[in-house]
């Protein structure tokens, strides 16, 4: 057993972990943040994507101890109570959600992209979600949603 401390969705956690535990298992099995999904367990599908210190990682490929001292954002950290994050709203409005299993990872990849590049081209959007597989939508509606999210985020910025 090993003790680590990390910040998840703005909250400090001090946790005891098994040395061979993956970040994904810490989030799901120990902290019950089950919004993060496991689709393949080998870094191919991106369903377990979380943002770690501003960068997207496959949480199935990161051991929990490697997250010691880091700041993690999971899907549960995006909305503020009843108020959806603009990316979530755009996905809902564009009908980009079908079975939903890829969606947490997809939304976080979109966030990491839009944080760095507020007005991406459609090609840049496709590159931004190239690590996330979806088997339902054929991606078009997801790309539309991220395009719309970029507009929503700009409008929100103007309001402020």
């Amino acid at each position: 057993m090993k003790k680590i401390s990390l910040k998840i969705n703005g909250k400090e956690y001090n946790v005891e972990i098994e040395k061979d535990m993956r970040l994904l298992d810490l989030l799901r099995d120990q902290l019950h943040l089950t919004g993060t999904k496991e689709g393949c367990g080998e870094g191919e599908c991106g369903a377990c994507t979380v943002i770690m210190d501003g960068v997207t990682v496959n949480s199935c490929m990161v051991l929990a101890f490697q997250a010691d001292g880091s700041e993690i954002i999971t899907i549960e950290g995006l909305d503020k109570g009843d108020k959806l994050h603009p990316i979530q709203k755009a996905f809902l409005d564009e009908g980009a959600v079908q079975c939903g299993f890829c969606i947490p990872g997809m939304v976080l990849s979109a966030k990491a992209l839009l944080d760095k590049k507020p007005s991406p081209s459609r090609k840049e959007i496709r590159e931004g979600i190239s690590g996330n597989l979806c088997r339902c939508t054929g991606y078009n509606k997801i790309v539309d949603a991220i395009d719309k999210a970029s507009q929503y985020l700009k409008e929100e910025g103007e309001e402020k």
């Binding site: 996905f91 809902l92 890829c102 939304v107």
Partner: protein, 418 residues
């Protein structure tokens, strides 16, 4: 009549929970006092088997190891009861379930799998469906490997081929395809008021209930199937995977039992799209009118029939494509082999045949020196057309408009010229 939903853009009711990470898929369920299950699967395509679980059984943390001996009624399947809940004397394909280890942790269950001794005595196997149709082929189920034959006859093809100016004869093969839905199979079962509750992502909860009740030999009302969020299915969740294992495990241990398949296990546990071998002969006159088509379609259903009958019937019904042909002869077969089993997948047998009938159309058009779009327009279904099965199409058949729209769209692109 005012339509409130049809024609409107409606926000998905389950979209919000999914976007907030709050939707519950089976792997997201946890219960107090819960046990973990892992499935031991065959690594041989065709073999007599014998298990020794005595070492694994004694491991600390192993609560119970289920084998065929624990199953009151060891058979299930959507059309034929040709699957065994756990293989009893022989395995018919790689991935057949042999045992289900129930332990206090996932790790212990996984370790215990390695401690189960499996003795395989290899049997001759058959992987080619054409070979499997021969009388002397190894038998997958102690009877003919031919599960089903569908015959379609319209007019007189032999006479009609004599009147054709061009005839194309080719053979086409499509491959096995996995649905690869993003959420690997998972489930949790528990007991509540003497009822066995199974939570699993499924396309067929009412039928799962029936199959669980039959296998456990308990009344139907003692089984409840809850379908939480389903992470994609595409046909791949129409057959039972772990539902009976879980129900039996909770029945025999009295505790909640959960299992999650890895992606690798998911690939061997559920059905595939039927690979088809399609022999086609299609003929037309020099005016570009199709006169005759003859097709022999062989579908490899692997070790289990699943929906093979419905699927190969559908392949046969759709064999002409959307074209009016006055003389048609189709023989369509579903055949057992020792390959992974095939079942439902998007299109259900109608997806494979266009590979053949559309290539035939292109090759006939080339030989006739007719534009392939024009050739399709000459022959395609319209309102009032009669299909090869004798159905008169009386309602919406907007195929001409569709082909014309595609043609227009192709002409507007630089790459898509015909």
């Amino acid at each position: 009549m005012k339509l409130e939903v049809v024609g409107q853009s409606v926000i998905r009711v389950d979209g919000l929970a999914k976007l907030r990470g709050k939707a519950t898929y089976p792997q997201d369920l946890y219960m107090d006092n819960m046990l973990y299950g892992k499935t031991l699967r065959s690594i041989k395509p065709h073999a007599n088997i014998r298990l020794n679980i005595s070492k694994a059984e004694k491991m600390e943390g192993v609560i119970k190891i289920l084998t065929y001996k624990d199953v009151p009624h060891n058979h299930y399947g959507v059309l034929f009861k040709d699957h065994e809940v756990f293989s009893s004397t022989k395995v018919r394909s790689i991935g057949d379930p042999l045992a289900f280890v129930v332990a206090t942790s996932d790790k212990i269950a996984t370790k215990a799998l390695e401690e189960i001794e499996v003795f395989y005595e290899d049997l001759d196997a058959v992987f080619d469906p054409i070979e499997a149709m021969q009388d002397n082929a190894p038998k997958v189920h102690d009877k003919s490997n031919i599960v089903y034959k569908y015959q379609l006859r319209k007019g007189d093809v032999d006479k009609a081929f004599q009147q054709c100016d061009v005839i194309i004869e080719e053979e086409y093969k499509t491959s096995m395809v996995d649905h690869a839905f993003l959420q690997p199979e998972a489930g949790l079962a528990y007991q509540e008021n003497e009822t066995f509750v199974v939570c699993a992502a499924t396309q067929y909860p009412h039928f799962d209930q029936l199959e669980i009740a039959e296998a456990l030999e308990v009344p139907l009302e003692k089984v409840r199937v809850i379908n939480p969020a389903v992470g994609g299915a595409f046909g791949g969740r129409e057959d039972i995977t772990m539902q009976i294992h879980l129900a039996l495990a909770t029945k025999l241990t009295g505790r909640p039992v959960k299992t999650i398949y890895s992606r690798q296990e998911s690939f061997v546990a559920h059905s595939k799209r039927h690979p088809l071998i399609m022999k086609y002969k299609t003929g037309a006159n020099k005016e570009g009118k199709l006169l005759a088509m003859e097709a022999t379609i062989v579908g490899d259903t692997g070790a289990y029939a699943s929906w093979a009958i419905n699927i190969l019937r559908k392949s046969g019904v759709h064999a002409t494509g959307p074209y009016e042909i006055p003389n048609v002869k189709v023989d369509s077969y579903a055949v057992y082999t020792n390959n992974p089993f095939a079942g439902a997948m998007r299109g259900f047998g109608a997806t494979q045949v266009p590979i053949a009938h559309e290539q035939q159309m292109d090759m006939l058009a080339e030989k006739l020196n007719i534009n392939p779009i024009e050739f399709r327009l000459i022959n395609c279904f319209r309102k009032g057309s009669t299909t090869a099965t004798g159905q008169i199409l009386e309602e919406s058949i907007p195929l001409v408009e569709c082909i014309e729209a595609v043609e227009k769209s192709l002409k507007q692109t630089t790459q898509g010229g015909v």
